[in-house]
């Protein structure tokens, strides 16, 4: 009997969008702190955060057919505080409320109090970490069941969040885009960290168990290898790093602020988003369960 993944693309989208929302909020907070002049980008981040998280939650509810048919059952989600998913609901709920309040304040042109920003950032981190911990506590899957995964998902979430804000900025607020150098430098670092974390995850998981080895092999050389190497590693991590390295460190300043360079950044940020989704998708579907029975010799 071959193993069919328990979750598929829908849950991968949910995990990605939840992380993306958290990342976008964190990006906004960062902008408010280091680039207070980038007012519009600040608002863009605030707006992206609740929208994508709500889309993600809708996907989650769509995937949970038992609840979809009986929506009242979703009220029961807060009954087992031993469950990571219950905590996730708390974090997502808290985050969504804060994010919506912030959007409303922005809309009303009122300033967002620092404490609320801090609360939002804390929720953001919790949400991003939760998406990793949700999988991480499942002993069944060696690819998930490790402490690296929440960190990897957090880094990826912040990276994707920043990418989403920068991407919108390229189209709508090019002037601001040119002035957020610190954000860009941080953003530049994240795929590199991610690359190290992904490599560590592969390395450690493959030594962990037969199932871990097989999961990693399915990514590196098996059925998921094309998506892994071309989609995640090349488009999602290496290409953005290469493009941004050139733009930030080797291209002339004039070029960096040219429209052409903006579109190159756009491509690199789109790559980060593709990579962010593929990371979740591949981790979700490539995980193989631990071996339960071995032949008796």
């Amino acid at each position: 009997m071959s193993f069919e993944p328990i979750w598929g693309a829908i849950i991968a989208w949910y995990l990605f969008l939840a992380g993306l929302g958290g990342g976008a909020f964190i990006t906004s907070a960062f902008l408010g702190w280091r680039h207070p002049e980038a007012v519009n980008m600040h608002k863009v981040g605030h707006l992206i955060a609740p929208i994508v998280v709500i889309i993600g939650l809708c996907l989650l509810m769509f995937d949970a057919e038992g609840g979809l048919h009986n929506p009242l059952r979703f009220a029961l989600l807060l009954t087992n505080f031993g469950s990571v998913m219950t905590w996730g609901v708390v974090f997502l709920g808290g985050f969504t409320i804060v994010a919506i309040v912030v959007v409303v304040l922005d809309f009303l042109k009122k300033s967002v109090p620092v404490w609320l920003d801090i609360v939002g950032v804390v929720f953001s981190v919790c949400v991003a970490v939760y998406t990793g911990a949700l999988l991480g506590v499942c002993k069944t899957f060696p690819l998930w069941n490790n402490a690296l995964l929440p960190i990897l998902f957090l880094v990826s979430a912040v990276s994707a969040g920043a990418a989403s804000v920068l991407l919108v900025a390229v189209i709508r607020h090019a002037d601001e885009f040119n002035r957020v150098g610190v954000l860009k430098k941080f953003h530049f670092c994240l795929p590199i960290i991610e690359l190290v974390l992904v490599a560590s995850l592969m390395f450690i998981t493959s030594f962990n168990s037969v199932a871990g080895w097989n999961s990693v092999m399915s990514l590196l050389v098996g059925q998921y290898a094309p998506l892994f190497w071309i989609g995640l590693v090349l488009i999602g991590l290496v290409l953005p790093t290469a493009l941004e390295t050139w733009l930030l460190f080797f291209s002339p300043k004039e070029f960096e602020e040219s429209r052409k360079a903006h579109w190159i950044s756009f491509g690199s940020d789109a790559g980060v988003l593709v990579g962010g989704f593929l990371l979740r998708f591949l981790v979700v579907v490539a995980a193989l369960p631990v071996t339960i029975t071995v032949p008796m010799m």
Binding site: E65, G67, N70, L76, K139, T140, M297
Partner: protein, 180 residues
């Protein structure tokens, strides 16, 4: 209070699938709801070959990972130690399926909820047979069901006699024991 468990002797299992289909029929399950799944092994090289079929089903773990992760409390451990599913609480998030290392929880494509071996607590109520359907159906009597806390029960004696063990060591505190 009894502490129910099961013993499965794979040395008697001929891999005929009767337990799976009996379970499905007696509990009125869908064809895709297999509460019992099988792992098959062949060992040795031609022509000196041995074969083994290991039926796997809910181990009714005392530290059930499915119950730990279930966000709605749909997965629970009953007073008799039987791990149950309260379908009315299940949202179908499948987190329990991901958490169960034995991969024996099954998604019901009609209701969207998740279900699994109940030690036949359901059928016992409606049709006069108290024994688990798989135990009753097994052509070779490879299965014994009973009270693990009663040292005089058939299952307790058989476990002692055969040194039956949980299928995956101390992965969880399983109440299904195997002779292999």
């Amino acid at each position: 209070m009894a502490r129910y468990g099961m013993l499965i002797n794979t040395k008697k299992c001929i891999g005929c699938y009767a337990c799976r289909v009996a379970c499905q029929r007696q509990n009125d399950l869908l064809p895709t709801q297999d509460f019992i799944r099988y792992e098959e092994h062949e060992t040795g090289t031609y022509p000196n070959v041995s074969i083994e079929t290991v039926p796997l089903q809910c181990m009714h773990c005392e530290d059930a990972p499915c119950v730990a992760v279930c966000p709605t409390g749909a997965a629970y451990i009953g007073a008799d130690g039987i791990v149950g599913v309260d379908e009315g609480r299940c949202i179908g998030c499948k987190y329990c399926m991901a958490a169960c290392p034995y991969q024996v929880r099954v998604h019901n494509e009609k209701t969207g909820t998740v279900d699994k071996c109940r030690f036949c607590t359901v059928s016992a109520e409606t049709s006069g047979t108290k024994m688990c359907s798989c135990v009753e159906a097994c052509l070779t009597n490879a299965r014994i069901f009973g009270d693990l806390d009663d040292p005089e029960s058939d299952i307790s004696k058989a476990i002692a006699e055969t040194n039956a063990q949980p299928i995956a060591g101390d992965l969880t505190k399983s109440k299904v024991f195997y002779v292999r």
